[in-house]
Symmetry: D2
Subunit: 196 residues, 4 copies
């Protein structure tokens, strides 16, 4: 069962490592026949500020085009993966600002996988743990096995190839879990709808 | 589809409010035909310390009887709900010590609902948010809608009846979600097993 | 002893409530003779993205003027207060993106007070708790008593007057604590320097 | 300026590594002339449950002797250090149950250093970050530089000697900071009392 998936990139930093990590995730998801699209905060439109989340616009006609497009992708997706660095023991604003812009209803009752990375030895593991209540509040369930990538520099090529076996295995674990949860929830959704 | 569920009570305090809240949750789950059992940290055995988690015993013959029994219940359950107070902006030791005693494999890929309460006006909402990474690490997915119960005193009878409509609705929402996720995951599990 | 303080506003949302709350905090700090300046993420320069934190520029000559100015203010301040909403159980990107742009060395060993608010009944209390590890990582110590403001609408005038006694008392508590910690740490700093 | 310090050990597990780590911390604090005492949850009395926090007893004559003694030590101390493992992405019940038993007033406006450890490669760093809001709620300020100890096995002798230079340096950093903050706050306290 092929699913529609979005991969959210949580960095806008010049020279960001996350781009290659995200490519790797996109590749792995594509290999198992999911339709995948990368959501890059630098490309979707808007600046990095949350000026008005989509569902806060009084007149929905005023909602900018990029928001409508991105929201449609979120609504149409069956599952998500975030690829995120850790900034000062927290989630990067690039990740939260993108996700905060859209209504929880768009994400609701869909699973989200977590991939985090850092240049140091802790791999952004705290960002992964703080991501969980954040994703839950948006209505998602985060799948159990986060992939934590320490010392990310040099581990991914520009084409998204990973040269580290342990990490590759962990990424494949994330892929398996998000596929499993995505299917489980999609099947229930198509049979019974979702809990209101 | 009837499921086997465990409700974990997160308080051992004298005069604990959670007992009545947990009864209410047990009642609501039973009404929709689930088999439910309450896990009370004061009754399962052991003191409150984690002396040795079950999976850390070198000789599994040394594992105490109460641990084996409780672990069997955890393994056999399809879904869980925690009913928890908040102590000093964190999870109470009564909750963490019970759950920490058992291997993640026993909880893995099952959903957990969250009900939190307090005597004050914030309802233990921070405990709910800190519960999410904790439950994830144990291998569970926490369902999105936590039921947050502020000013809990006087809201639940000794039989577990709730006299507050808003809270009752929110508890029913938790029940619906845990049923939905429990079934979704159980069906996938029986069809394909779980991701390793 | 008069201190130099910065108040960081954590919202860029149209119609943001935080502006009036922050004015109130600025007023209260000024009344006890501190020099206070508001750091408004919409006014300091840059968009909302973290393109390159100041200390990551290879050539410090490339650092934009607004960054140098803001960093100078951070370095010169003795203490800080954040005034922040909560977005989806987390810190708003407006707050994290501003603070993430500057080196921990600029904030190091100075105290930070926390004021949070929301339109609902939980007052952003989870944002306050997630702020603590974030501020610590940047080198600050957060003072114990956060001021949590539920149902913020209508409680603050455009001049920053607060019409709610309980909240005013709590804000004054934050002011007293940040003054106390600011002085304690400033005196040690001037006598002995700071721990490296 | 010599201070009175308590070191809280956050483990009750058989074969716990924390005992040697805590000894090392006690030694380092003693070398710089502080009076230090270790609070070991297995030795202070009570089982691991929070049956009734001290300040919740209606009749203070009913408070058990071990609680009064431990509380007196907490009240008399100028500063604290926690030495803690991480259990399932959270704080161990051994730590929270000890600290939860005593009133925030006993800890209020004193600094607390953080030392965390694990057998794996992340060193319990998430426990350190979750400790911060918990310690704050109890009225403490946590000092910025946590010492994170990965792969703890074999790094500390039974006498508390550490054979790893990097860790020793980080422990000394914690010692310097807790001394600095302890003195800064103690001096303010003796001059002006503490903010109510």
């Amino acid at each position: 069962m092929s699913l529609r998936m979005l991969v959210f990139l949580g960095s806008t930093r010049e020279g960001r490592m996350g781009e290659n990590v995200a490519k790797c995730v996109v590749n792995l998801l594509s290999e198992v026949k999911h339709e995948v699209e990368l959501i890059d905060p630098l490309k979707i439109g808007g600046d990095g500020h949350v000026h008005q989340p989509m569902h806060f616009y009084r007149d929905q006609n005023d909602v900018p085009e990029w928001m409508i497009e991105t929201n449609n992708k979120i609504v149409n997706a069956n599952a998500y993966v975030i690829v995120t660095p850790e900034y000062n023991c927290g989630l990067p604003p690039a990740l939260t600002s993108v996700l905060d812009n859209f209504p929880p209803a768009s994400y609701r009752h869909k699973p989200c996988g977590i991939v985090c990375y850092s240049m140091g030895s802790f791999g952004g593991i705290r960002a992964a743990s703080f991501a969980r209540p954040f994703l839950s509040e948006l209505g998602m369930v985060s799948t159990p096995s986060a992939c934590v990538i320490p010392q990310v520099v040099g581990k991914f090529s520009d084409e998204g190839e990973c040269n580290d076996e342990r990490i590759k295995n962990n990424l494949e674990k994330v892929v398996k879990e998000i596929s499993w949860y995505g299917r489980a929830m999609e099947e229930m959704r198509s049979k019974e709808g979702v809990p209101s």
